[in-house]
């Protein structure tokens, strides 16, 4: 939910509560006023009638509400003083005009005339209460809507303007790619908080970018510097073992050291390859037929696969041509297919499927899904495979990222790696 809508949401909730409470209070206050003025009117009328009765006693026999809005009935002497006082109450009465029962206010009182006691009732029609509530609600809803729309308007016009630097910054951050972009540059703003935020973000991203560059450089330099001593050690041992002066056991031991150095060498080469991909050092691009690359790779891996008892099948439904660096396309396919072969069960099959815009490589191996979050990370190794460099899939991922291809992993009884072409 957007920031602007958040404020609007809270405002609306607050207003609903406030206006509801206000409506109740307002209704009762209004009602109170209405009763007050009705009762005053009734009392005034009573005084007028009592004066009239003194001058014209015939009025004492108006026992029905006809044209008059009062009745007078003879009654016995009240038991206590209390009955002399006026009492007001609400009741319903049939109205001919409206053809229904309408609420009326009634005043009852007892007075004495020449030793006799009479009961007087006065009525007056009340404002229709239900109409009143209906009207009240209508007007309150109008008020509520007016308030909300003015808040929305305020948000859209003023808040948007005020928060602009913030949204600009978010836009920058969203598009920021540490390995690609220039540092974030923000526009100057007059709001202190945003100025501070911009400054902090600029500093932070610049710092991360620098340390990223330094780290990248470091890996490349380290790998370069390792090459010469590695070459020297490997070559010295090769010469030593060639001299024919060692016993078989000694030769074997040297062989083991050579194997380890070889592994170190491979690791180093993979690191160099990764940093070269990261540093965009593979500039040359051409249209490469992935079908041909797959053919060559499968051919190169044939001996290796046969040795492991794995058969490789290629199912070419379509031709895929893509503009890419040729070396990288070969490294990509080799890594993925080799990976599938290495992790396949004996006597199983690796299936490569070339569809219209995807290449899928399936193999049957450990019957458990790999963690898709982890497999493309550097040095994330499957424990069953001690001597791999743990960089093969990271390299594949770096290559696909470099060319905006999508490399996915999926497990459905078999392991499935797919390259999705745009």
């Amino acid at each position: 939910m957007k920031l602007l809508n958040h404020t609007t949401k809270y405002f609306s909730i607050l207003l609903i509560i406030l206006i509801s409470i206000w409506a109740v209070v307002f209704y009762f206050a209004m009602l109170d006023e209405v009763y007050d003025s009705l009762d005053d009117g009734l009392e005034n009328q009573k005084e007028l009638i009592l004066q009239a009765v003194r001058e014209d006693p015939s009025l004492l026999f108006d026992t029905e509400f006809g044209v008059n809005n009062y009745t007078i009935k003879k009654t016995s002497q009240p038991v206590s003083e209390h009955f002399y006082s006026d009492s007001y109450r609400d009741t319903l009465m049939y109205m001919q005009v409206e053809d229904e029962y309408e609420p009326v206010r009634i005043l009852e009182s007892i007075f004495e005339h020449k030793g006799d006691y009479y009961k007087i009732k006065l009525i007056t029609s009340m404002v229709e209460e239900d109409d009143q509530i209906e009207n009240l609600v209508k007007y309150l809803i109008v008020l509520y809507l007016l308030l909300i729309s003015s808040i929305l308007l305020l948000n859209n016009l003023i808040f948007r303007k005020i928060w602009k630097p913030f949204y600009d910054l978010i836009g920058h951050l969203k598009n920021f790619r540490i390995e690609k972009d220039e540092p974030i540059k923000t526009k100057p703003t007059s709001i202190d908080e945003f100025r501070l935020l911009n400054l902090s973000v600029e500093k932070l991203t610049e710092k991360s970018r620098k340390s990223y560059l330094v780290q990248k450089q470091f890996i490349e330099n380290a790998a370069h510097e390792l090459q010469t001593p590695l070459a020297i050690s490997i070559n010295k041992l090769e010469l030593l073992v060639e001299k024919n002066e060692l016993t078989d056991l000694q030769s074997q031991e040297v062989g083991q050291v050579l194997d380890s150095l070889g592994r170190l060498n491979r690791l180093n080469k993979s690191l160099l390859l990764l940093s070269k991909i990261d540093n965009d050092q593979y500039i040359e691009e051409e249209r490469v037929s992935f079908n041909e690359v797959i053919h060559r790779t499968v051919e190169n891996l044939e001996d290796f696969a046969v040795h492991r008892g794995v058969a490789i099948y290629v199912d070419e439904k379509e031709q895929i041509d893509f503009k890419i660096n040729k070396d990288l396309s070969e490294i990509l396919m080799l890594n993925l297919i080799k990976n599938a072969v290495i992790h396949s069960d004996k006597k199983s099959q690796v299936k490569i499927e070339v569809a219209r815009n995807s290449i899928t490589i399936k193999n049957i191996g450990e019957n458990k899904a790999l963690n898709p979050e982890m497999i493309f990370k550097r040095f994330s190794k499957n424990s069953s495979n001690k001597s791999s460099t743990g960089l093969g899939l990271a390299i594949s991922k770096a290559i696909t990222d470099r060319y905006q291809l999508n490399l996915t992993y999926h497990f459905s009884g078999q392991h499935e790696f797919a390259i999705i072409f745009p």
């Binding site: 070459a231 070559n235 062989g255 080799l334 890594n335 001597s387 791999s388």
Partner: protein, 226 residues
Amino acid sequence: MKILIVEDEPQMLENMKSSLEREHYRVETADNYLSAIDKIGGYDYDCILLDITLPDGNGLELLQELKKMGKEEGVIVVSAKDSLEDRLKGLDLGADDYLPKPFHMAELNARVKAIIRRRNFEGSNIIEFGNVSVRPENRTVYINEQVLNLNRKEYDILMYLISNRQRLVTKSALAEHVWGDHIDQSDSFDFIYSQMKNLRKKLSDEKATIMIEAVYGVGYKLKDIQ
């Protein structure tokens, strides 16, 4: 046969020198740009191994000087950089081959031999070892004048072993040469065995007087058993 190695790293230089001396070449060395220029100017070589990064200059400049002098030496550029630009630049400037560091001694031998062969016989020559002869230009192998049918990999293995005859070739050097640079991550080179087995069988079936000897745990050695 005279070879000049231009390399500033003393240990690397020493390794390359002793490996090539075992092949009975006369090896001379230069560890900086100036002494390399002196040697190139004063003598003729059959092959020059050229490191790109030198303390007082660039190997590629040396290559340019060499071409300016009209020298015809075969040049192998040796570099730790392994960058495409260096490779292309070196080959553009007239280098015959490019060998990225680190490399196996067997690979160095094979490359130097190939260069010398190309230079001296313009590519059409016959390499003989025991009763086996190889014609590299059309990739055919003969035993006692009879053609021996080998597949691509078997031929590459045999050729590599012949280039390094009587020397021990490690499994990884062989695998990288025959199966390509990127095969390596496969962490075990046992898959070489099956091709090796076939090749050995073909050689012994045709009564070749050479034999591939396995040095357990390390690699192979091609021997004359006459």
